[in-house]
């Protein structure tokens, strides 16, 4: 019999998350549907960008979750390294593909949006490039998880990679900014929330409410999927342990 953390906690996690999941999923659907439908059907066009402004309801929340997803993985990795809490390592593993997909969505919608606005699908703009690098970090992280067979070794290695990767992702962001100033406008969402003066680049209030709803929807979507996928990872881990025990006889 191993320590209590080994067994009781994953079980408790599955129970708790199982109870939470329907609520989170329901809220996700409500927020996303209301946010996106409101944004798509009931907001006016921007006077400069025309109807393309509607892409913001996908682009900004996806970008938000691409970064926060990595941040969550970093926290989970730290918890694993300090507390040796298996659920934490598995949660980080579960979050990585979601973060990667969010990064793809942010890049894809960005490219589609950039085409009519900047006249090109892709520019080597700091923000775009940073996201590309972030995507590469996600890929490396996922690949390392897949490549290492022993669970605990994989958790340790990926956690350390996540920490080092975080530092270098931030470094790259500044390096890239130095390298090219870029076309992308600054992050205007937060200024919308701060009710700052009427600067031109501010996301105006007409767009703010559905945007925040959609952002909440993406956050909840991420949470729901992480809960679900962590359950799967816990079961997969238990499965591997059982199989190993069976082989030993």
């Amino acid at each position: 019999m191993k320590s209590i953390w080994e067994y009781a906690n994953p079980k408790k996690f599955i129970e708790t998350s199982q109870a939470l999941l329907p609520w989170v999923t329901g809220l996700t659907v409500v927020c996303m549907v209301v946010g996106l439908v409101w944004g798509f059907f009931f907001t006016p066009d921007d006077y400069r960008q025309g109807s393309t402004v509607k892409i913001i309801y996908l682009h900004v929340p996806a970008a938000l979750m691409a970064i926060n997803g990595w941040f969550m993985m970093l926290l989970a990795s730290l918890i694993w390294l300090i507390r040796r809490h298996h659920v934490s390592a598995l949660a980080a593993r579960a979050a990585a593909p979601i973060g990667a997909v969010m990064t793809i969505i942010a890049l894809a919608t960005g490219a589609i949006w950039g085409q009519p606005m900047w006249g090109t699908w892709w520019v080597w703009d700091p923000r775009l490039t940073s996201f590309l690098i972030l995507f590469l970090f996600y890929l490396g992280y996922i690949a390392l998880w897949a490549a290492v067979e022993d669970d605990d070794t994989a958790a340790d290695l990926t956690s350390i990679l996540c920490i080092v990767g975080s530092v270098f992702a931030v470094l790259s962001r500044y390096a890239v900014h130095f390298w090219n100033q870029g076309l992308h406008q600054g992050a205007s969402v937060m200024r919308a929330g701060a009710l700052a003066g009427d600067t031109e680049e501010r996301v105006s209030n007409v767009f703010a409410a559905p945007l925040f709803l959609s952002m909440a929807g993406f956050v909840l979507f991420f949470v729901a999927l992480v809960l679900l996928r962590t359950q799967t990872e816990i079961r997969a881990r238990r499965m591997r342990a059982l199989m190993a025990r069976e082989r030993r006889g």
Partner: protein
Amino acid sequence: MIALLTRDLKLAVRAGGGFGLGLAFFLILVALVAFGVGPESALLARIAPGILWVGALLACLLSLDRIFALDREDGSLDLLATAPLPMEGIVTVKALAHWITTGLPLVVAAPLLALMLSLPGEGYLWLFLSLLLGTPALSVLGTFGAALTVGLKRGGLLMSLIVLPLYVPTLIFGAEVARRGAGGLSVEVPLLLLAGITCATLALLPFASAAVLRVNLR
């Protein structure tokens, strides 16, 4: 530590150690780029700093899996781990040996290859300096990647995927120094940033590499 360093250097220089391979790869890469973009020297001169930096980076990458793989195979890595030397020391020496056998020759060869790409006269000094400052960081980062993937059977490709994004800041600032130097602009800011990144990596990353290596040898 010195004994380990000389041992690694000897192993690298001896036939089959792959001492010259990185250099040969660097030369071929430069020739291939020239074939690829055409012989027009104005264009080559413009992209020379970038090509040389990317070439040095790839040549560095190519020799990374040798850092630990051979020692792992013949079991000397396990012996090293039980030696009185701390793991951080081993990792640092390994990175240093890699730099002396791969990074330093690249730094020396780069101005010669730059000649072939008709880099303008002011650029040589800055190219040389930026590579001299940047390649130690490449070696240390590469040691981290090699330590991460040392236990894996087909770790080479995975290691490239992990290590190359880590090279981005060094590449950006290094190539920027060389490019600005060749263009006769002020290089102070990227040069300082490059030096900063190298110093920080040298100081901090051996701890990460050592931790990773300990996990892998568990």
